[in-house]
């Protein structure tokens, strides 16, 4: 069935909730209102207020309650109305959720999900891409889907997983990206990258919104005779190093792209792995394309200026190819 990215996420949640009584959702305005982005529209009617729980504006309590419920046999999915507000529940995630398996050998099967990303005039407080904070926290799995089918399949896998998973949705893709999505149960394993466009000249490694920029760049470059391979990481933790290295070993050239700000981001991690483990295969330096190191500004002129885009990726690929 053709679904938008948003519909596919909702479908994954719905199927998981239908199949498993232990799954419930907790968040702000997810019930009667159906969520700030209407992602859980109809959920309250189907699952009732106990399983679609409208919570007070208390991100720590929401995440903490999800941890506690998961320690007691449930599989909660906590929504952050915007992923930016995860900073208010940060301690619960990094201090409690991410250390429990290690300390207690007990599963914490929970998902924290919410809209991340910029490009929609969200202002500095509704546009963050904070995934690398959690990559660098230990004990948390981190997922950033770019396509509807993956979004559904990764959601279902995240819910079935026995570790805490932070699931970053990109709000700019919610209604923009559509594709055919398998119905019913559908699982995409965590920790597997996907070559979304095979190519032989340069590997572009990306995730989330940057995958679409990369594909756009690849289409442009095709006309210039450059055959770009685009890899969608999909899951940052666990990270599918093998697929990335294999691609770079074939092409000898790589560009790494993400929407998050450049410095201290996950792009550095990818480059470090490539340059350590595929060094002898590299014919050019690995180049990163990412947001300028600033908060995401509000005015469209400014926001466009700081965020990465297809043009920037295309330029980086050209430079890499020409090296």
């Amino acid at each position: 069935m053709i679904m938008t990215y948003l519909e596919a996420i909702a479908d994954g949640l719905r199927v998981a909730m239908r199949n498993d009584e232990r799954v419930f959702m907790i968040g702000e305005d997810i019930g009667t209102y159906g969520g700030a982005f209407k992602l859980t529209k109809g959920f309250l009617e189907e699952f009732g207020p106990q399983r679609i729980m409208d919570a007070p504006i208390s991100e720590s309590a929401i995440i903490g309650a999800a941890i506690g419920a998961s320690l007691n046999g449930m599989r909660p999915v906590a929504e952050m109305q915007f992923i930016d507000f995860i900073t208010n529940g940060f301690n619960q995630l990094v201090t409690v959720a991410g250390t429990t398996a290690y300390r207690w050998s007990l599963p914490v099967p929970m998902v924290v999900r919410g809209p991340s990303g910029g490009g929609v005039g969200g202002n500095p407080f509704h546009s963050r891409n904070p995934e690398n904070w959690f990559v660098h926290a230990t004990g948390l799995k981190v997922v950033c889907p770019a396509f509807p089918a993956d979004a559904k399949g990764l959601m279902m896998s995240a819910i079935r997983d026995n570790d805490p998973v932070i699931y970053f949705e990109h709000k700019g893709l919610y209604r923009k990206i559509k594709e055919d999505v398998p119905e019913g149960e559908y699982y995409v394993p965590l920790g597997k990258a996907r070559i979304v466009r095979p190519g032989k000249h340069v590997s572009v490694i990306a995730y989330g919104s940057a995958v679409h920029m990369a594909l756009e760049a690849a289409a442009t470059l095709e006309a210039e005779g450059l055959d770009v391979e685009v890899i969608d990481i999909r899951s940052l933790v666990p990270f599918d190093e093998a697929t990335v290295l294999d691609s770079v070993r074939r092409t000898g050239r790589a560009v790494v792209a993400h929407e998050a700000v450049l410095t201290g981001g996950f792009g550095g991690e990818i480059v470090a792995r490539i340059s350590e483990k595929a060094f002898t295969f590299l014919d050019a330096p690995v180049v990163r394309v990412a947001a300028f190191d600033s908060p995401t500004p509000f005015a469209p002129t400014l926001e466009r200026a700081v965020l990465p885009n297809a043009g920037g990726i295309a330029d980086a690929v050209r430079r890499t190819a020409a090296f």
């Binding site: 702000e28 305005d29 019930g31 009667t32 209102y33 700030a36 409208d54 919570a55 007070p56 504006i57 208390s58 991100e59 720590s60 309590a61 915007f82 930016d84 507000f85 900073t87 208010n88 005039g121 202002n123 500095p124 407080f125 509704h126 300028f292 190191d293 600033s294 908060p295 500004p297 509000f298 005015a299 469209p300 002129t301 400014l302 926001e303 466009r304 200026a305 700081v306």
Partner: protein, 342 residues
């Protein structure tokens, strides 16, 4: 261990005869009308499809933002407004064009386009806007007056939070800290019955949010937030306490959010009867009627005030909305202050 009960509160004498001067009363109405017509003007912009970003109506909250801010010394005190406090900006003397260009994030905005709405700061006007994360600025407001106090200056901070935002952990930490340090901080909890779509019953289980004052050892009171003179009188007492070094006060103002959370929200979840009930208590209409009844204003002068104010608002918005967006280069500046200095 009986269910904890609220302490006796001094009954609020219905303010039958005003203790305010006619000038003060006219000013209160004028600021409330400004808030009201600002809303109308923004709504018009939204309907024209020219608004960008959220448009948060403050309809029904005029008496709170105006009545509270009017109790302050706008030359010495400091305002940390929230998203439905446009009235407070006016009381603090914010000029309409500056406000609009900031709000709409156009070229010339004090935020250079990095942000919009009421998030700006204007130190000269003693206004420090909010961030989106609810409650995050309350510890900051506390720290601001802590600094004043350290220097022996008299500076009271006035800030706000919603019935929903009051559940954020930082609110607890900030109030407690301010109480321990006896800081001159006034926190107004604007209980307008809803937090986005969430009714109060799902946000908290206490009867009154001012009941929280007891747990910090500070003063707390719950008042009708549609009565501007009551709001003013209550806040003045809080300001006096603050100036005497007696610490923070928590004021819960009870009102109704008369529109959606923002304009995209059709607020279908709000019972119609509730809106009707509160429409009858409209803070602006009622105050205008009262001033007319008291002979302070005429029907005609009220009408004129409203029309002129709306016209002003629309003109300022129209000026601002025609301004260009800030230059893209602004995006690359001022991440750090040393760049500002350059």
């Amino acid at each position: 261990m009986a269910k904890a009960k609220r302490p006796q509160q001094a009954p609020q004498a219905p303010v039958s005869s005003s203790t305010l001067s006619e000038t003060e009363r006219r000013e209160l109405l004028r600021y409330m009308v400004m808030a009201r017509e600002f809303d109308a003007a923004m709504l018009r912009l939204y309907r024209q499809g020219k608004a960008f970003g959220g448009v948060y109506s403050q309809l029904g909250n005029e008496a709170v933002s105006v009545g509270t801010a009017y109790a302050l010394d706008t030359k010495a005190d400091v305002l940390f407004p929230m998203h439905r406090n446009i009235g407070s900006h006016f009381v603090f003397g914010q000029d309409l064009d500056t406000l609009m260009v900031n709000h709409l994030a156009r070229k010339g905005s004090q935020m250079r386009g990095t942000d919009g709405t009421g998030h700006y700061a204007d130190p000269a006007k003693r206004i420090y806007g909010n961030v989106s994360h609810l409650g995050a600025m309350i510890p900051v407001a506390a720290g601001f007056v802590l600094a004043s106090k350290m220097r022996g200056e008299s500076c009271v901070a006035l800030t706000y939070i919603g019935d929903g935002g009051a559940q954020v952990g930082e609110v607890h930490e900030a109030l407690n800290f301010a109480a321990v340090q006896r800081l001159p901080l006034i926190l107004v909890i604007e209980n307008n019955q809803y937090a986005y779509s969430t009714p109060s019953s799902l946000e908290f289980a206490c009867e009154r949010l001012s009941d929280r004052a007891l747990g910090y050892g500070i003063d707390g009171v719950t008042i009708d937030g549609t009565d501007v003179e009551l709001v003013l009188a209550t806040t003045r007492k809080a300001v006096e306490r603050a100036r005497r070094g007696e610490g923070p006060t928590l004021i819960e103002t009870v009102t109704m959010r008369m529109r959606g959370h923002a304009e995209h929200d059709d607020f279908a979840y709000v019972p119609k009867a509730m809106l009707e009930e509160w429409a009858a208590k409209d803070p602006v209409e009622r105050y205008a009627e009262r001033l007319i009844a008291d002979g302070v204003m005429s029907t005609e002068s009220v009408k004129q005030l409203r029309e002129e104010t709306l016209a002003h608002m629309i003109a300022a918005i129209d000026r601002a909305v025609e301004l260009p967006w800030p230059d893209a280069e602004e995006a690359f500046r001022n991440v750090f202050m040393d760049e500002v200095a350059q």
